[in-house]
């Protein structure tokens, strides 16, 4: 089999959380392009219906299930609905997450509830999904888990406590999945850089990415092929790893002086 054929996902069932917009939608569409049938989940029914429509236009099936990943009974019900429809889950993409109340608060101003919501949204939700899905993968003898972390899971931010802690936690949770379930289950992470999701205000906030070495922000559709790559047979020996897609940001830091200063070497 040629190397490009290994990127096909025909006959696979992929569950994507947070599939209603942004990266979740882009990854869902890429998985469908590669031949997978989808289960699109998120809290907002109308958004996952839109994603499902786009998937179906590609000739793939798409089940929509509303689900709040921070509620374990909701996750359990989503997984049961999926298994009732398809009988299997080959690929789980834990993409749900994002900014929660008190996101940029000073530490003394983060109340208990804010803290728990932040951790639940960006870490516990993925844990609940893995807990519900991985036993089925183990039973069937294979499975791919793709967790979406962030550059903030690898580096810190000022007045950024809940999000950085949760995303860092997700990284080491994933490595422990590897230690426990490899090689049957492959668990890897995607760390997107600055992706404004077609939001002009966000793009402006990030100054259009001019401090990123590549000089631009990420496009949602650039995440799709990476997701397919990690879900495919091409990466069967890759496990517990993070792929950072960020235009060079983390290689040197998103700083005004982050790239290409020329300093002459004296005395040569």
């Amino acid at each position: 089999m040629g190397v490009l054929d290994k990127l096909r996902l025909d006959g696979k069932i992929a569950v994507v959380t947070g599939a209603g917009r942004g990266l979740g939608r882009a990854m869902s569409l890429a998985l469908a392009d590669a031949g997978a049938d989808l289960v699109a989940t998120a809290r907002t029914a109308s958004q996952i219906e839109e994603t499902a429509q786009l998937v179906r236009e590609k000739g793939r099936e798409c089940l929509t299930v509303t689900c709040d990943v921070t509620d374990s009974s909701s996750v359990q019900a989503m997984v049961e609905a999926t298994l009732a429809e398809y009988g299997r889950i080959d690929i789980l993409v834990n993409n749900a997450g994002g900014v929660t109340p008190g996101f940029a608060n000073k530490l003394p101003d983060i109340d208990d509830r804010m803290w728990r919501t932040g951790i639940d949204t960006n870490l516990t939700g993925a844990v609940y999904c893995c807990r519900a899905v991985i036993p089925h993968m183990v039973e069937r003898g294979s499975g791919k888990v793709i967790n979406v972390t962030s550059g903030f899971g690898l580096r810190a931010g000022r007045d950024n406590f809940m999000y950085t802690s949760a995303k860092a936690g997700l990284i080491n949770f994933t490595r422990s999945l590897t230690m426990t379930y490899a090689p049957v289950v492959q668990a890897n992470l995607i760390a997107p850089g600055l992706f404004p999701h077609d939001d002009p205000a966000m793009a402006e906030w990030w100054k259009q990415g001019k401090f990123t070495p590549m000089g631009r922000l990420g496009k949602d559709e650039e995440l799709g092929p990476l997701c397919v790559f990690l879900a495919s047979d091409l990466t069967s020996y890759m496990n517990g790893q993070i792929i950072v897609l960020d235009g060079g940001g983390l290689a040197g830091g998103h700083a005004p002086t982050g790239f290409a200063p020329v300093v002459p070497l004296e005395g040569v």
Binding site: A30, P225, N239, G252, G258
Partner: protein
């Protein structure tokens, strides 16, 4: 979706095609559509035979290719190799630095000459090849980028660039050097549309294992996969990194090591 990963009409050069990862990378790139020239890491009859055999696999896939014997630490050899790739293909899009010269000895027994040779072939050789290919790619970047950017540089480093190993000081230092050179060069050439990444390879079939059979058994017990990687399981990453799909990915080490680095 496969179109985004296709390397049709791209031209690649793989240095170090006599070792198992270099060979597999060359074949994977050719399978994905690229023309591939290959070279040895050092001048030896065994390496030359292996590089020729790799070129045969490229031709068997109906791609253009060639094999050349070089010493990868020799400036003139490397410049001539890159010039040949440019002249035979008309353009060089992808450089894979798969040089590998395993070396292990207690530090107090390493001569200065041995140390320099280990660093030269494992690290300086990557600089030489990147410089030669980079000059060509940067020049092309100024005359208008093509789809997928102006160039792709893919280094192959070892888990020993991230973890230490007793008796491996020279090799570990060189591999770590390749990893951080990858990051620095990625920043330097980001605006020219040249991505620079590194494949972090785990313990692989066909590569030298320190400690012989007993060392290998120990290693297999330790690895979450309970086995070494097959070269083809690692080099698929080269196809992804070389493709249009990875245009925004630069300065990264992509580890394929069967969970070895997740281990305490």
């Amino acid at each position: 979706m496969q179109e985004e990963f296709s390397l049709r009409d791209r031209n690649a050069l793989v240095i170090g095609a006599a070792n198992s990862l270099g060979r597999a990378a060359a074949v994977a790139l050719a399978e994905a559509g690229a023309n591939v020239g290959v070279s040895t890491t050092i001048r030896s009859r065994a390496e030359e035979v292996a590089a020729n055999s790799c070129a045969n696999e490229v031709w068997a896939l109906d791609r253009k290719g060639f094999a050349q014997a070089i010493d990868a630490a020799d400036e003139a050899d490397v410049d001539a190799l890159v010039a040949r790739a440019v002249s035979e293909f008309g353009r060089l899009d992808i450089l894979v630095n798969a040089h590998d010269l395993p070396f292990a000895r207690p530090l107090v027994e390493i001569s200065a000459q041995e140390w320099r040779r280990a660093i030269d072939v494992n690290l300086t050789a990557v600089f030489l090849a990147s410089r030669a290919a980079g000059r060509h790619m940067l020049e092309r970047a100024q005359t208008g980028a093509r789809p997928g950017g102006s160039g792709r540089i893919i280094n192959v480093a070892s888990v020993l660039g991230e973890r230490g190993m007793a008796n491996g000081a020279a090799y570990c230092a060189a591999q770590a050097g390749v990893i951080n050179m990858t990051r620095a060069l990625a920043l330097e050439w980001a605006r020219a549309g040249i991505t620079v990444n590194c494949i972090g390879a785990g313990w692989t079939e066909g590569m030298g294992i320190i400690g012989g059979e007993e060392g290998r058994r120990q290693l297999e017990r330790y690895l979450p996969y309970k086995r070494l990687a097959k070269p083809e399981e690692i080099t698929g990453v080269a196809v992804y990194l070389a493709s249009d799909a990875a245009e925004y990915l630069t300065g990264q080490v992509i580890w394929v090591e069967g969970g070895a680095l997740s281990h305490v």
